[in-house]
Every structure is written in structure tokens, then in C-alpha cells.
Amino acid sequence: MSSSTSPRKKRLSKKQSYEYMTRLGWDTTYQDEKKVHPYLEYEGIKIHDWDAWEDPFRMTMESYWKLQAEKDKKLYSIIDAFAQNNGQKNITDARYVNALKIFLTAVTPIEHNVVSGFANVARQFKGEGATIACQMQAIDELRHYQTQVHTISHYNKYFDGFHDYRTMYDRIWYLSVPKSFADDGSSAGPFEFMIATGFAFEFVLTSLLFVPFMSGAAYNGDMATVTFGFSAQSDESRHMTLGLQAVKFMLEQDADNVPIVQRMMEKQLWRGYRLLSIVSAMMDYMLPNSPTSWAEAVELYIEQNGVALFKDLEKYGIKMPTKILDKIIAEKEHVSHQLWKTLYVHSNATAFHTWIPDEDKMNWLSQKYPNTFDKHYRPILEEYKKKAEKGERYYSEALPCLCQTCQLPLLFTDVMNGKPTVYTHETTEFNGEKFHFCSDECKNIFENEPKKYAQAWLPPYQIFQGNCGGETIPEVLKWYKIENAVDNLDYVGSPDEAMWNKLKNI
């Protein structure tokens, strides 16, 4: 770009280049600042000095582009090699792909949602450090989204259930769980969006999702996902830092921010955890070889890392959310089994397959869950197995009652009160109507913002209202774009199984 009035004589110095390529902050001159940045105050967060936002990862756009381009080159050379060498044949078993189906159909649209979320927050925030960090993260998320779509594209050539992930995200009952989490964050103000995404998604979720799940991918020969994981993980560490920086910035700016941030963190910690519960079933049941159990992941990433994070924030006045952490810890030996049996009985309405674990897997579960598996869950699985062997594989004909906040079915049990076989049920009233919840925590979130959650789009009730193609399972499946007896039902007898057996000459 040349200018006729002041031609540049030489290349910009490093210092000048840094200045020009990072200078995005500006003050209003002829407009009221509140009109230009309308979202800064209504959440109640007080910011006195935006320049105090220090981004330790701050780069010039130039060096950022170079770095990311380099990463993409490496990533795509491996993804191409995976595709050309039929890498899908080297996975442990086609059952593994069902974990990928959930991961890719749930997380990919969230990544896309986060692109626009961060672009929006970059516009709404003031201050260069914050704006640039958010813009870079928006671009990172777009890169992650694209690489995930490429992975979908590859697996879609060989396995069922990947064909219309975008429609499915908007319509299928279990995908309303990640969708509601993402929509909740992006329809909040910019500060809560930062906490939902930067803290809950990038901190709590990244550690619990990417680390154990990517090592699971490695254990099961899925090099495409491992490579994506490594490539994304280097961004994730920057994103975690941004999330934490945002939290600390809010806390340092004004003491009045502390209770607001506390509430947002607790809400999003709980929402993030509930969303992740599906990962527990993926890790414990869907990976043919599991490197880590869900309980072990909770021990490492919640009991150790999560607690340490809150301890670090205590000096700002943040209190340890003991009640929530205790509940997560108490539920760690239960949630994967409870999720799996719910997915198992509703496999007639999913875009993936489920199955009864074989004896080796059952024994692994007994060993990893000595207090709960043999006592509560093996007998249930044995009952399902008996029925399946008689040719009566059980599929539920009824729809679940959903939690109004997290949108998971009421499937979690009251382990805190020593009732591991009794579903937890909480209820409240708003505007003359009853609302139901899976937990005290979800009820509290609703009661803080009832107008927001009263308008939640809950799939079973939308089916009953006639908004999902019909009331029968075949009608709803058609509307979901799920092909009956192809994308859904048990793994045993599925086209995926037949294709896999043919590939492996079994």
C-alpha cells in the first residue's frame, strides 16, 4: 500500500512493524463511547483501565500467520498421508469410530460458534491486548473447525453417521446439549462469553477432552485425530492463558467484579462439566483400548488441576466452589456408566451405534471402578445382554424428561445422598409453570436467569408440539436426517460392522 503524500523510504523496523500490526485499540472522538461499545457495562463488570490487559502471547499478525501456516502445513501433510494410506483401516476396531462420531458432530459446530463469538467479543471489548488476543483466537477456532471438517470428510467416506453434521447439530436430541452450552455463552455478554469459552471450554474442557481423548485416539491408531489434537493443543495452551488472563483482569480491575465473576465461573464450570459427561462414556465404553478411565481423568484434571486453579484465584477473593467440586468427585465413579446405558437404550434415535461391552472390557471397568461397576452397572448390562441374546435388544419407545438447563435427560443419580440407583430430580416454578432439573446446580442456574432458560428448545417437547417432522420415531429420524437401521441401532449387525469385517477379512 503506497501513499502519494508520504512515500515510505524503507521497510518498517521491527518495532514499527509490531506497532502497526498490533495497534487495534482506539478512543472515540465524535461518538459517545457507550454507543460504540454498548456491551461493556450491562453485566456489571467494571473496567477502569483496559491498557492493563497484558497478553503474554501477544504476537504481530505477521509472525502469527507464519506460525499458524507452518502448523497447517505439517497437519495437512499428515492428514493427507492418513487418507492416502487408508489410515482408517489401522484403527483398533470400527466401534472406536462411534466415539469420533459424537466428538466430531458435537464439537465441530461449537468450534464454528466460537469463531463468531470471539470475533464479536474482539469488537465489543476495548483495549488492544484483549482485542488482538480475541481476534487471533477467532482465527484459530476457524482453523480447528476446518481441520475437523476435513476429518469428518475422510471418515464419511467409510462410516455412517457423518453425512449431515450441521443439520444434526440443530435437531438431534443429544446434540442439543453442546448446542445449548455454546448458545448460552454466545448469547451472554462479552465477559460471560469469555468465562464460558476461555475458562469452562478452554480450561476445564480442553484438559478433560483433548488430553485423554487424544491419547485415546493414539491408543486406537487414529493418527488423523491425534495430529489434529497436537496441532490444536498448541493453540489451546494460548487460549487457556487468554481465558485465565481475562478472569484475572476482571478480578484485578474492581473488587465489585469478584462476586459476578464467581457466579459466572461456577455456572460455567458446572455447565462445562455436565456437557463433558458424554466424554466419560466415550472414554470408558467407546474406545476399544482405553488409556485412562473417566475417574482417573477427573482425579487429574479436576481434583488436582482444577482445585489448584481456584487456589490461585483465592488471593483475588474467589472462593473455592467446594459444593460443585465435591459433587463432580462423588459422581466420577458413576457418570460414564449412567451415560452409556442411556445412550444404549436410545440408540434407535442416534447417529451412532452402541453395544454391550465384551468380557475384557467389563473386567477393565470392574478394575477401574471397584466400588461401583460390579455392584450397580454390570448387572444392568448383563440384563440388556440377556435380552439381546434372546433377540429382544432393548430400545426405549419413550422420550426422556430433560433438565431445563443442561438439556441432558434426568439420568444422574443421587450419589451425594447415598442413593446411587435413584435419579436426582429438582424442580422449581417460574411464571406459573413447573421446571425440572437434573441437579441442584442446574436449578440454581435457572433460578438466576429464568427468562433465558424458560425459552430453551428441548427436543422431546418440540417433538410433542409437532415441530420435528412427526411424533413417531421414523418420522423424527427422517427429520434428523438419520437413516434408520444404517446410522443408528446396535453396532452388531450394522453396516459399519459389516464393512469393517470385510476390510479385516473377519
Binding site: G44, A398, P400, L410, Y423, T427, E433, K452, A454, Y461
Partner: protein
Amino acid sequence: MAVKSIGEYPTIMKDSVDKFHGNQLVFIYWHAHFMEGSVKAFALSPDMPFSAIMSDIIPLCYKVEPDFEKLDFDNTEVIWEIDGKVITPDPNKSLKENSIGHKSYIQFTTPALDGKIGA
């Protein structure tokens, strides 16, 4: 507490009873039975007799339970709770007459059939 919002935030009742074509949402749970993966939801007519819950709805979601064969509403002791209150329903009266409204939560407990499997 209100939603934080720039303008007025509307109250949208997505699942109000007028949207269910004359039916109402009803939730059913057989206490401590968890072969069925969660509490179940139905859209039922408020004029439906309560007896239809026992004859038509409960089998639909609970026939999978090993206890189901032994469940006999004429002879098994059953404690009914509607929205947390213990009641004695009249099977011949309607849901409405038994105080079952939109989004009511019906829980039934059978002390002799406690859901334990393979003990």
C-alpha cells in the same frame, strides 16, 4: 434475578400447555428402577383416566425392568407421589381430577419391588 440484557428481555414460555394440542406434559418415574435410561416424558390428555397410566404408559417404558412381571397394581403396594405429594389416585377419574397438571412429575414407589438386579 433477571437476565442481563441491553433492552427489555422477553418472557417466552417455549413449553406452555397451549402448544401441546390439547395434551399436557407428564413425567413418570418408577422409583429406583434404572434399566430405562432416565425419567420419561409423555404428552397426555388431561381427560385421560388415571388407570391408563397403569395399563398403557407404565408398560411402555418399564416393561424392560425385571421387576415388571411382578408389578400388579391390584396387589402390589404402591406409593404414588404427584409433584412431591403422596396421594391415593382414583384410577377411574381423569388426570386432571387427580390433580395432575401440565409438567407434573409422577413418581411411584413399590417397597416390595425395589429395582435391585441380580442380587
